[in-house]
């Protein structure tokens, strides 16, 4: 079913009885051309681009839980492209271009809102460093500028510009930054892939790989064996666990990152805003809830729940930046598991096993990356070649000295 204004009118006049389920619940076949492990944002995006761009539709997406039930459905929804390092720079720039046409591409409203992103600077040195970043963004052809205190005061009068400890000196403004409705991204990709013939298989966990003479031939699952000559892993958070089943040893640690949402309030925060003295970022959802997050919990974790010291830090940062939100009640928090890589950048690559492809290491930047990640992973699986805009996310880059260390913090996953 093609979604359109006409369809809404037609359904409205006929009692809304003609709407169909958004995807099928297909029977599992015993063999596919391609299996994608992981029904999150990246796996579903990969299935969409495999089917739409490369015409490969005999594909199964295997999801252990339910579609979009992991980090794609619980994050702070920020979409930006402000990376400076070669490798990341062109990749996130490409992802932004895909975001800008995503609702049309999927025929599904992902509510991509380019409301603008403001990153606050609190010292002259930080202004200088953000000016360099703005220049890097502009040099690539995306847009960013440094704005002064008075401009910030006009745009966001609720920010405590004269905080005694962290006065605001200026900000980095990216007008194409913003947010998207996270669930809709998963659902839109799922619907598109399904409508082109991809089988989305839920409640199906992979328990092992079948590998013959260095070539993958299929997977073992909780619903039986499935054959395929090409298999892509998109299970960030659990990459080490799933990879270990195929003998992969990865430069990844799993850490937990929390996200928070408050009760719904009237329109208050127009942009996505980040604090410059401590890790804190906030925006307001279309339902009115303030959505925000901070740093990792700072030690390895596979528990999908966060600790209280981090809740405290996030609350303190929010009060330092916007004192007016102090009386808003927090409704929910959620801890998601992140693949934290050794340089803070992801992997989209072949593995030492023929036919087995790896997508992971997204740290906590996976949401905005999903479109380009899916497109690049589909390209790699379909053609065997790395997409031009994702050619540096190699699994062996630490061995060859090609780190993509955006934060410059070295081989310590929790610091990226």
């Amino acid at each position: 079913m093609f979604y359109s204004a006409f369809e809404i009118l037609k359904q409205g006049l006929t009692g809304n009885k003609g709407w169909k389920p958004v995807w099928r619940n297909p029977e599992l076949k015993t063999e596919y051309d391609v299996i994608i492990i992981g029904g999150g944002g990246h796996g579903l995006a990969t299935a969409h681009y495999l089917a739409k761009t490369y015409g490969i539709t005999n594909v199964a997406v295997l999801e252990r839980g339910y579609l979009g039930g992991g980090n794609i459905g619980r994050n702070t929804t920020i979409v930006r492209c402000d990376y400076g390092q070669p490798g990341n720079s062109e990749f996130y720039s490409h992802s932004m271009k895909l975001w800008e046409g995503l609702s049309q591409d999927l025929n599904y409203n992902v509510m991509h809102s380019q409301r603008g992103m403001l990153q606050l600077c609190h010292s002259d040195e930080q202004v200088g460093s953000y000016r360099k970043r703005a220049n890097m963004i502009n040099a690539r052809g995306d847009e960013a500028q440094i704005i002064d205190r008075e401009t910030i005061r006009k745009r966001a009068p609720y920010i405590d510009l004269d905080n005694a400890r962290f006065p605001v000196r200026g900000g980095l403004w990216q007008k194409r930054g913003g947010t998207a409705r996270h669930d809709a991204v998963a659902w839109g990709y799922a619907r598109s892939a399904d409508s082109r013939g991809v089988d989305l298989i839920q409640n199906c966990a992979v328990t092992g790989f079948d590998i013959v003479n260095g070539q993958v031939t299929g997977v073992q699952t909780t619903r039986g064996a499935i054959k395929a000559k090409k298999i892509g892993m998109a299970v960030a958070g659990r990459s080490s666990e799933v990879g270990a089943m195929a003998g992969l040893r990865l430069p990844i640690e799993s850490h937990v990152l929390q996200a928070f949402v408050t009760e719904g309030i009237k329109p208050f925060i127009d942009y996505t805003i980040s604090f410059g003295m401590g890790h804190f970022y906030i925006n307001q959802s279309d339902k009115g809830g303030l959505v925000f997050g901070g740093d990792l919990d700072m030690y390895n974790s596979y528990a999908q729940r966060g600790n209280l010291p981090r809740v405290e830090q996030v609350a303190e940062a929010s009060m330092a930046m916007i004192p007016a939100i102090g009386k808003v009640r927090q409704l929910r928090s959620w801890g998601g598991i992140m693949d934290m890589s050794m340089d803070g950048s992801p992997f989209i690559d072949k593995t030492h096993i023929d036919g087995l492809f790896f997508n992971g290491g997204w740290c906590y930047g996976g949401f905005k990356a999903a479109p380009a990640s899916g497109a690049a992973f589909a390209h790699l699986i379909a053609t065997g070649q790395h997409a031009e805009y994702a050619s540096k996310f190699r699994l062996d880059r630490y061995k060859t000295g090609h780190m993509i260390d955006e934060a410059g913090t070295g081989a310590s996953p929790k610091l990226h």
């Binding site: 430069p251 990844i252 799993s254 390895n300 596979y302």
Partner: protein, 87 residues
Amino acid sequence: MRISCPHCGERDLREYTYLGSAKLLDRPDGDAGAEAFYDYVYIRENPSGENAELWQHSSGCSAWLHVVRNVSTHEILSVKLASEAKA
């Protein structure tokens, strides 16, 4: 999460700083070759169950600790001084 420091007793998580895998105690010999150092610096087993880790009681006695912890339940299984631990 509370960790029992061998010197100070059971203390709150906030007193501790995490470094990473306890494999860092097991540094290869200088002539072990690039592959061994690549493995040491970058590769992590990253299990979802028991993980041997290095923590410092940074807001307490400053001792480095070897902690075995279940990273899915956050249960602390053993704590000893890093100086007494073999990775």
